[in-house]
């Protein structure tokens, strides 16, 4: 990913900046120009909570080239409190510890480095909330 494209997404990737539709209440992550549920263009900025749960997960054994050093790694669909959903890695845990509905928290981590000439990219990953 080139740096202009990466830089534009920093508010979402670093701070989970999102939107709530002022008419119907639907939460959009990342932000967009029109609500997909009711077509309202009145959307207010919100910050997503970092707590949520795993809806489903997989362990990637055959990775894309730019993740080749990390495989195998866990990818999950996470539903955050309030209902927003996203896809991210789950780290610092063994796949055996995961289950549907497992409680997780998003943390700020290094995601990848596309090539030696490229920028190091950061964003959110999930960790298990234990105990």
């Amino acid at each position: 990913m080139k740096s202009p494209q990466y830089t534009r997404e920093i508010p979402q990737r670093y701070r989970l900046e999102a939107q709530k539709c002022t008419r119907c209440g639907k939460i959009h992550f990342p932000p967009r120009l029109i609500c997909s549920a009711c077509h309202s263009r009145e959307l207010e900025a919100i910050t997503l909570p970092r707590q949520g749960k795993v809806l489903t997960w997989t362990v990637i054994h055959v990775p894309p080239a730019n993740f080749s050093l990390e495989a195998p790694y866990i990818i999950a669909i996470v539903e955050l409190e309030g209902g927003a959903r996203l896809t991210c890695q789950v780290v610092d845990c063994d796949p055996d510890e995961l289950a549907v509905d497992a409680p997780v928290e998003l943390v700020f981590r290094r995601i990848k480095e596309d090539s030696p000439a490229d920028i190091i990219q950061y964003g959110y990953k999930a960790v298990l909330r234990r105990g």
Partner: protein, 384 residues
Amino acid sequence: MRDVYVIGVGMTRFGELWEVSFKDLFVEAALAALDDAATDRLDAMYVGCMSSGLFVGQEHIGALLADYLGRNPIPATRVETACASAGAAIRLAYMEVAAGTSEVVLAGGVEKMTDGADVTAALATAADQEYEVYHGVTFPGLYALMARAHMHRYGTTREQLAQVAVKNHRHGALNPKAQFPFEITVEQVLASSMVADPLRLLDCSPVTDGAAALILASAEVAGQAQNHPPVLVIASAQATSTIALHNRPVITRLDAVQRAAEAAYKQAGITPDEVDVTEVHDCFTIAELCVMEALGYARPGEAAALVEAGETRIGGRMPINTSGGLKAKGHPVGASGAAQIVEITQQLRGEAGDRQVEGARIGLAQNMGGTGASCTVHILRAVS
């Protein structure tokens, strides 16, 4: 709107065809379709192709392929909806004939995947680059997320997923054009290498070179056809859903497939149980189950039991993927939707040989892109 008929079909062999170029693949399929229709007339063409830019470094393929097919100056347009590209090309060709703009239109698809490109990265462009692929997910990974959710919600088993691949290879073994014309066992699927847990290598469709083409025509032209009985297109529908899998209300429910199917049944004036033979987009074993449920062939969570009972085999109550499906026949992504309708047309003509479904009168083809964000459904009927 006028009636639209399929009067000719053609396809290349599917496989790793290193000796054949991108252009020649398409032209070979198109010539086979023209010969099958016994016509030399074409008024326009639509070519489905997911990613010639990434796979072979070539864009602007409408004009290119019209040139190499010797058809300049007819209008020629490339259509892209990821792995549903050919289905979308067929829909546009259908509408052009139905509208009365053209009498004879070629619709097809082509993909050349083995010329050395990074296939995983190219395929991943069909998902949300910034919010899915960014985090390291692959296409098998996205379908694995669906598989895990299906297993958790409905109790679908690992063995039941394997049975989809076993059934499709059983059919593919009867198809001389198939990339993998041989049978496999449940044990082999379960012992194959892990790609994205719970999906293993033999749950996944392969990387394939290939092309397929159809000739669509008005009733007047179809009435003059000599070689084969024409087949009537009784529905052509398309729908979309969210690009990111995580934004679907139910992860295992393919909303675009459901919408396209409902529209197609309405156009055709039929119910799902009237379909005699079906081709579905089994890019991964779990996809075939989710598609069956979205098409209304089974209630949510009940598709696997039908596969297990043999209902979806040739000879069963609802034969699915008689060609071998994407799994055994091969999956040249931009061509698969056209190859499905090649199979359905041959079935409805009674020309499917060892794979023939006895008395097949109505056939359905379902083609999708990404994790189902694009879907087309076509329904065809034998005329004679």
